[in-house]
Structures are given as structure tokens and as C-alpha cells.
């Protein structure tokens, strides 16, 4: 070391220059930075959450009392369908993978971006376009109105000649492209871009959850895509798949849909598991109990989830042997969840937990998940399912699990990573108040639904008569819904206000153990000035390693200062064996997404030749995009 290395500031400035993106709106349109794309996903899916929430509130207002006519049956059915479709496809999944996964996975891996940054941008623009596409239907008075699982024959042209089911089917095919792209990106990133030393057994549990979710997304989306393609071919081109007279079967739709649908619910909840397993060690200030079992459980739940789909079809009259098989599988799929629940609980019990807001949300998540999980198990008792299916008991089950178990960790995660993303602290007092409001609102909204269901209240009714004993419970649910909304608005207000006025947070306000806390808040475009070296499962608590990383920065090692670069590593041991040239910002993803939207719109309006031509143009745009090599 005779030559004096340039000072740290100079190195950092160099990286800043290399990784700088365009400012302004144009910058957002062409960005390939996973953090900015993650934020785009976040705000867009939040907007869809608000839309789905408003739909839910109209539904609840209509159902507050018997024989109400705030909206007519057509409007109600559209709102009900759009609520379910929005929440599942345009809110939780893009929120879990697109926002949280996108933003955090590279940071936790010690990487500078996702494996395919431009594909990531394309994924976002497709997501946005597909959401707008589906909502166009609602706004032009042709909203999907056949329920979120769109059973045939009701969704066939014969019974629904409007464009509603076409908006739904084409929109979801379109949307699936986005999820597929994100999933490929996340899996590849987790395989190839881990920091040196982060062998698979040191992979953070959050990333295991993301890996399981993204991996299952690649397998579960094809059945849905095929189902929707078959539906469109039958509706638009006169093919026969679902009509009995021509040799088709309406059961085909159901099998394909639930072959997608059940794994999808684990896709929804897995990112929430990941958030939980991030928050708990931080606030319990100790490592996870039974961490390998938890990682295994996360992978296993995604896997077993593919073998239980027919529990959504218990009353269709399948043969007894099939019923029993799927019931047994449903009992089995419970085990990974119980393992995780107890691992979380005992981690909290072993440590000295600090009950700050994120941990409160996680505690509520545990309670709600157990309630929803227990009612889920009851459905595996076939005769009970055959009694309660399609009643509000089912609505209670899945809202406890989806809202209580998937959304609560997301809310907790918003608080937990807020300092990282914004560099500022949220207001703890208001955050706790909003937690209790949301918590009690949720319980009041969804718990009485169990009872309404046991009293026979069917789901998807736009109104109900007086005298069946349902009135009081429905009123309570509606009141709860508004309390819950107040809690959510308070959360939003707190975060917006704290973004503007919050106290500076510093890089690691909670002493989190994962690598995202090892960089500044908010992280620079290249995430880490020096690619960290990992020597334990909790690198954020490994002060020695952190110190050494700082030393390496001083000596100029591992900063990859010649272009958009970062190491690529072996899959198992994360031994760096190549240097990846990452692409920089590009306008092509937006262009391709626009062309694809046009193609879907033309298909919707049955201009098939024109749609084919536009698809060709999209292919040309993709070729142009791929032509320029990242290193050039």
C-alpha cells in the first residue's frame, strides 16, 4: 500500500455519478432502479387498495341493514367482483412481491439491483396498464360482474354478453405477465446476486419467503392463464371447452381456477410471513427460534399448496375418494403454518421484546392468522364445508387470513421500513393509536361474519330480507368497516406527515439484523458503496464484518467502480465468480408496455388482425431493447 488510495468521498462520488438517473418525470418513466420501481409498485398498489377499499365500503353500506337499495344488483355485483379482483391481483400480490420484494430483496442480499432491472421496469408498467385496463371496464359501464372466480357457464357469452368478463380475462392475462416477470427476477436475483459469503443457509428468512412465493408464482400462474385463454377463445372465437353439449365441461374451469387459486393464497401470505420473520428478531433482539424449520416451512407451504385445490369444490359432487384425498391434503398443509406460528411466538418469548408498532402489527397478525387458520381447518371437515361453503363463514375465514394475516404484516412492514425508505422516523404514539383502531375495527368487521354465515347468510347477495337474524351482525360489520378505515387513514396520515416532518432516522434505528440496515437511509442508487461480505446469518449484528466492509471501502476493494457492475455468485455458496454488467435506464419497457396495452385493447374489441400487428410491433420493440448490450 504505497500508493495513497483516493479518499472514500471520491469513491462514493464516482459511484454516485455512475448510478445517477435522470431527474423528474422522465426519470421515473425510464428508471430501472429497483427501489424506485418498488416505490412505484407500492404507491400504485396502495391506490388500488384504496379503490378496493372504497368498493368494500359501498358493499358494507348496502348490507348494513336488510332490503337496502343504495346500489342495484348490477352495480353491486360489479363492485363485489372488482373488490375481490382488485384486492387479490392489484393490491396484495403486487404489494408483497412488487413493492416489498422489489425494494428489499436486493438490499437484504447485498446486491445493487435485481437481476434484470429493465424487465423489472417492464413488469411495473404492465402491472399499471393491466390495472387500468380492468378498471376501464368498470368506468365504461361494462365492469366484470361474474365474481372473482368467474365460474362458467355464468361467464360465457350466452349468460353474460357484456364485455365485463373480457375485461376481466384479458386484464388478468396481462397482469399475469407482470407477476411472472417479477417472479423470474426475484428468483434469479436470490440465486445469483447474493453478496459473497451469503450461502443458502445464511439467506435471510424474508428472502426464503420471497423465493417460495416467487417460485410458486411461476407454477401457479399458468393454470390461470390457460383458464382465461380458454374462456376468451370460447367467448370470442366460438371454441368449446366449457359447454357440455359440445363435449366440454364447466368443471374444467373450476379445476384450473383453483389449481391456481389455492397456491395463490399462499403466494399472498408468504411475503407477509417474510415480513414477520424480519420484524420479530429485530424487536425480540435475538435470532429466530428454529430458523431452518421456518425456512423449510416457507418452502413447503408453497409446495403442498398445489395439492389441495379441490377443497374449494367440495359441494360439486366429486367422487368420495377425491374428496377424502383433498381433505387429507388440506389437513397436511396446515403443519408448516403451525410450525411458523410457534417459532414466532417462542422467539418473542425467549427474547426481550420491545413492543413497538411493527411488533404490535405482527402480534395482531398472529392472532388473526390463527383465527382464520382455524376456520380454514374446519373446511377440511368436508360435511362442515359442504354446509358453510358460499356463506359468510367463508368470507370471515378469508378476510381474517387475508386482511388479518396478509395485510397486517404489510402495515407493520410499512412502519418497520419507513425509516429505511425515507430516512425519517414515524410518530410512535399515533402509530400505536392507529394500530388499536385498525385492530379493533378488523375484529368487529370480520368476526360477526362467522355468525352470519352459520345463520345461513349467503355471500354475494346484494341485499337480504329482514327476519333471518342477520341484521344485527351486518350492522356491526359495517360499523367495524368504518372503524377499520379510520385506522387505515390514520396510518396513511402518520406516514405522510412523518415523511415531511419526522425526526431523522439514521441508517439503523431498530438495530435490524439484515443487510438493508447496513447502508444509509434512504439507500443510495447503488445500495452499497462496497459490496458487503457475509459471514453469519445476521450480518447486521456482525459488527466485525461491518467494520471490515468499511475498511474495504477505504482501500477501494469491492466497490466495482467501472460501470453499472456488481458481482455474480454461485447459487449454493454465493462464491463470486463473475461480474455482472447491469443495464442502465431505458425507455423501452414503457414502450413495450404501451404496445401490449394496445394489443389487449384491440383483442378486447375483437380487432384480431390489428392486435396481431401490434403484437409484432411489441416484439420489434423488445428486440430493439435487447439489442443494446449493458456493457456498451
Amino acid at each position: 500500500m504505497t500508493v495513497l488510495a483516493p479518499p472514500v468521498e471520491e469513491r462514493v462520488e464516482l459511484l454516485d455519478r455512475i448510478w445517477e438517473e435522470r431527474p423528474g418525470v422522465l426519470g421515473w418513466l425510464t428508471t430501472v432502479d429497483h427501489k424506485r420501481i418498488g416505490l412505484l409498485f407500492f404507491f400504485t398498489s396502495l391506490a388500488f387498495f384504496a379503490a378496493g377499499g372504497v368498493e368494500a365500503l359501498v358493499i358494507r353500506t348496502q348490507l348494513a341493514g336488510p332490503d337496502q337499495r343504495l346500489v342495484g344488483p348490477q352495480t353491486f355485483n360489479e363492485l363485489m367482483t372488482m373488490h375481490g379482483t382488485t384486492m387479490i391481483f392489484l393490491f396484495v400480490v403486487p404489494m408483497g412481491l412488487g413493492a416489498f420484494g422489489n425494494y428489499l430483496v436486493p438490499l437484504m442480499l447485498g446486491a445493487r439491483d435485481l437481476a434484470f432491472p429493465r424487465l423489472n421496469a417492464l413488469s411495473y408498467w404492465i402491472f399499471l396498464a393491466s390495472g387500468l385496463f380492468i378498471y376501464t371496464g368498470l368506468f365504461v359501464g361494462q365492469g366484470p360482474d361474474q365474481g372473482w372466480f368467474s365460474y362458467v357457464p355464468l361467464a360465457l357469452k350466452q349468460f353474460d354478453p357484456s364485455l365485463g368478463p373480457d375485461f376481466y380475462a384479458l386484464g388478468l392475462i396481462f397482469n399475469g405477465l407482470s407477476t411472472t416477470a417479477t417472479a423470474i427476477n426475484l428468483v434469479t436475483t436470490i440465486f445469483k446476486l447474493r453478496a459473497p459469503g451469503m450461502s443458502l443457509n445464511r439467506l435471510p428468512l424474508f428472502c426464503y419467503a420471497q423465493l417460495a412465493a416467487a417460485g410458486s408464482a411461476l407454477i401457479l400462474l399458468p393454470p390461470l392463464t390457460l383458464d382465461l385463454v380458454l374462456l376468451e377463445l370460447q367467448r370470442k372465437a366460438g371454441f368449446h371447452f366449457f359447454d357440455v353439449a359440445a363435449g366440454g365441461s364447466p368443471m374444467l374451469w373450476q379445476h384450473l381456477f383453483w389449481l391456481f387459486g389455492h397456491p395463490e393464497v399462499y403466494l399472498i401470505v408468504l411475503p407477509a410471513f417474510g415480513i414477520t420473520t424480519s420484524i420479530i428478531p429485530t424487536f425480540a433482539k435475538r435470532k429466530m427460534v428454529a430458523a431452518p424449520l421456518v425456512a423449510l416451512a416457507e418452502l413447503l407451504v408453497a409446495f403442498i399448496g398445489f395439492g389441495v385445490w379441490a377443497h374449494h369444490m367440495f359441494s360439486t359432487g366429486m367422487p368420495t375418494s377425491a374428496l377424502v384425498f383433498f381433505a387429507a391434503a388440506t389437513f397436511m398443509v396446515v403443519i408448516p403454518s403451525t410450525v411458523q406460528i410457534y417459532a414466532w411466538l417462542f422467539t418473542v418469548n425467549l427474547g426481550r421484546p420491545e413492543f413497538r408498532t411493527p411488533l404490535l402489527f405482527v402480534g395482531a397478525f398472529i392472532v388473526f392468522f390463527v383465527i382464520g387458520g382455524l376456520s380454514g381447518i374446519m373446511f377440511a371437515a368436508i360435511p362442515f364445508d359442504q354446509a358453510t361453503t358460499d356463506t359468510y363463514f367463508v368470507v370471515a375465514h378469508f378476510h381474517f387470513i387475508i386482511f388479518g394475516a396478509a395485510v397486517f404484516p404489510i402495515l407493520g412492514g410499512m412502519f418497520y421500513w419507513f425509516p429505511k425508505v425515507t430516512g425519517r422516523m414515524y410518530h410512535e404514539g399515533w402509530a400505536k393509536a392507529s394500530f388499536w383502531l385498525t385492530f379493533s375495527g378488523t375484529a368487529l368487521t370480520f368476526f360477526p361474519m362467522h355468525i352470519a354465515g352459520l345463520l345461513g347468510m349467503p355471500r354475494r347477495v346484494y341485499t337480504y330480507p329482514h327476519g333471518l337474524g342477520w341484521d344485527g351482525y351486518n350492522l356491526a360489520e359495517t360499523i367495524g368497516g368504518f372503524i377499520l378505515t379510520a385506522g387505515l387513514v390514520l396510518i396513511a396520515a402518520n406516514l405522510v406527515f412523518s415523511r415531511l416532518r419526522g425526526a431523522p432516522a439514521g441508517p439503523n434505528p431498530f438495530r435490524g439484523p439484515t443487510l438493508e440496515w447496513a447502508t444509509s437511509s434512504p439507500p443510495p442508487p447503488y445500495n452499497f458503496a462496497v459490496i458487503p461480505t457475509v459471514r453469519s446469518e445476521y450480518p447486521g449484528w456482525d459488527d466485525e464484518a461491518l467494520f471490515e466492509d468499511r475498511r474495504r471501502l477505504e482501500r477501494g476493494l469491492g466497490t466495482y467502480p467501472d460501470g453499472h457492475r456488481q458481482p455474480e455468485a454461485t447459487v449454493r455458496d454465493a462464491y463470486p465468480d463473475d461480474v455482472a454488467d447491469m443495464p442502465s435506464e431505458s425507455g423501452w419497457p414503457v414502450a413495450v408496455a404501451v404496445l401490449l396495452s394496445l394489443m389487449f385493447a384491440l383483442t378486447l374489441t375483437s380487432h384480431f388482425v390489428a392486435a396481431g400487428v401490434v403484437a409484432g410491433l411489441a416484439g420489434l420493440a423488445a428486440a430493439a431493447w435487447l439489442w443494446k448490450e449493458p456493457a456498451e
Partner: protein
């Protein structure tokens, strides 16, 4: 300790993994198509329904064999790219492309005739069969474009890391498509076998 030394033999690049995952979801898509075919078949009393002749066997099997054979030049091209021999990779790609294009042209012709004779609007049998075969041909078509793109990229006779990964990924794509084609053809011909 210098953990950043780059060893001579690298593990699979991220581009290859991207293609592998993409191929996995495409294969799943075909898997569900096959499942649908089988499901509809076992619901039906007559398969194909009365009045539709069972498919003929010889030509499809021969064509499939030809397509399958192109896996060899693709794999060799991949190896050539890995060792940096651009011209050799290009020649092999071209060879594969010519055969694949010939295959595609013949299949397209046959497909058009078959759709004329047995339009998918006829019954569930024609619907699923034509969909399955059409989807397969479409994947061959995409593979042709992929090879064309790589040929163009290799024009200047250099193999960059990007192109190397591209050729490897394309080879993988073709292996998967060829394997799927075998299943497609066997299912398509199953009523006559």
C-alpha cells in the same frame, strides 16, 4: 483473502437462469394444456367425436424427429459460444435455423389445412387439439425469431458475455420446446396410436 478473484470456469449466468425459469413456467403452461386435453378426453365417450377422422401418424412423427435433431446444433452452438468461437456458433445456429424454418413452414401448411378441415369451433376435441398444436407451433416461431436475433448479434464476429449467455439461453429454450413438442405430438396422435 481475495474473495473477488474470478475463477476460470464460471457458474451459469443470470441470463441462463432467467431463461430456465421462463422455460419452467412455459412448461407448466403446456402441462396444464396436456392436463386439459386428458381431462376432456376422459369425459368424452368418443374421442375424437363421431364424424372426425383420427389423425394420421407418419408425417407428424417424422417432422418431430427432424425438429428434435436440431437440439444437437443448438447445443454445439452453445458450447462454441462458451469457448468464444463466434463464427462456429453462428454457423451452427444457421444450420439449426434452416432446419427449424423448414419444419415450421411444413407444419404451418399442415396446420392451416387441418384447421380448415376440423375447425376448433366444431367440438371440444378440435378446440383443445388445435389450441395445443397451435401453441406449440407458436413456440417454435418464437424460437426462430430468437435464433435470428442471435445470428444478427453475432454478425461482427465477437462473443461478448451478453451474447454467450444469449446463445446458451436459446439452446435451453429449444431443448424445452423440442421436448414439449414430442409430448404435444404424442397426445395429438394418441387417438390413432
Amino acid at each position: 483473502m481475495n474473495v473477488f478473484a474470478v475463477p476460470a470456469r464460471r457458474s451459469r449466468a443470470r441470463g441462463w437462469w432467467g431463461m430456465a425459469l421462463f422455460a419452467a413456467t412455459e412448461a407448466t403452461l403446456f402441462g396444464t394444456i396436456f392436463g386439459t386435453y386428458v381431462y376432456l378426453r376422459f369425459k368424452a365417450v368418443h374421442w375424437p367425436p363421431d364424424g372426425i377422422a383420427s389423425p394420421s401418424i407418419t408425417i407428424p412423427l417424422v417432422l418431430t424427429g427432424v425438429l428434435l435433431a436440431t437440439s444437437a446444433p443448438m447445443q454445439l452452438a452453445s458450447a462454441a459460444a462458451r469457448s468464444g468461437r463466434a463464427r462456429r456458433a453462428q454457423a451452427l445456429l444457421l444450420l439449426a435455423l434452416v432446419v427449424q424454418a423448414g419444419y415450421f413452414a411444413m407444419q404451418l401448411q399442415r396446420y392451416a389445412d387441418d384447421v380448415q378441415a376440423h375447425p376448433p369451433q366444431l367440438s371440444a376435441y378440435t378446440s383443445i387439439t388445435q389450441l395445443m398444436v397451435g401453441a406449440d407451433h407458436f413456440h417454435v416461431f418464437v424460437g426462430l425469431l430468437l435464433n435470428l436475433f442471435l445470428l444478427a448479434k453475432l454478425m461482427d464476429g465477437r462473443v461478448t458475455a451478453y451474447r454467450r449467455t444469449g446463445v446458451q439461453a436459446a439452446a435451453l429454450y429449444w431443448h424445452v420446446v423440442n421436448a414439449l413438442t414430442v409430448v404435444v405430438v404424442l397426445l395429438q396422435l394418441s387417438p390413432s396410436l
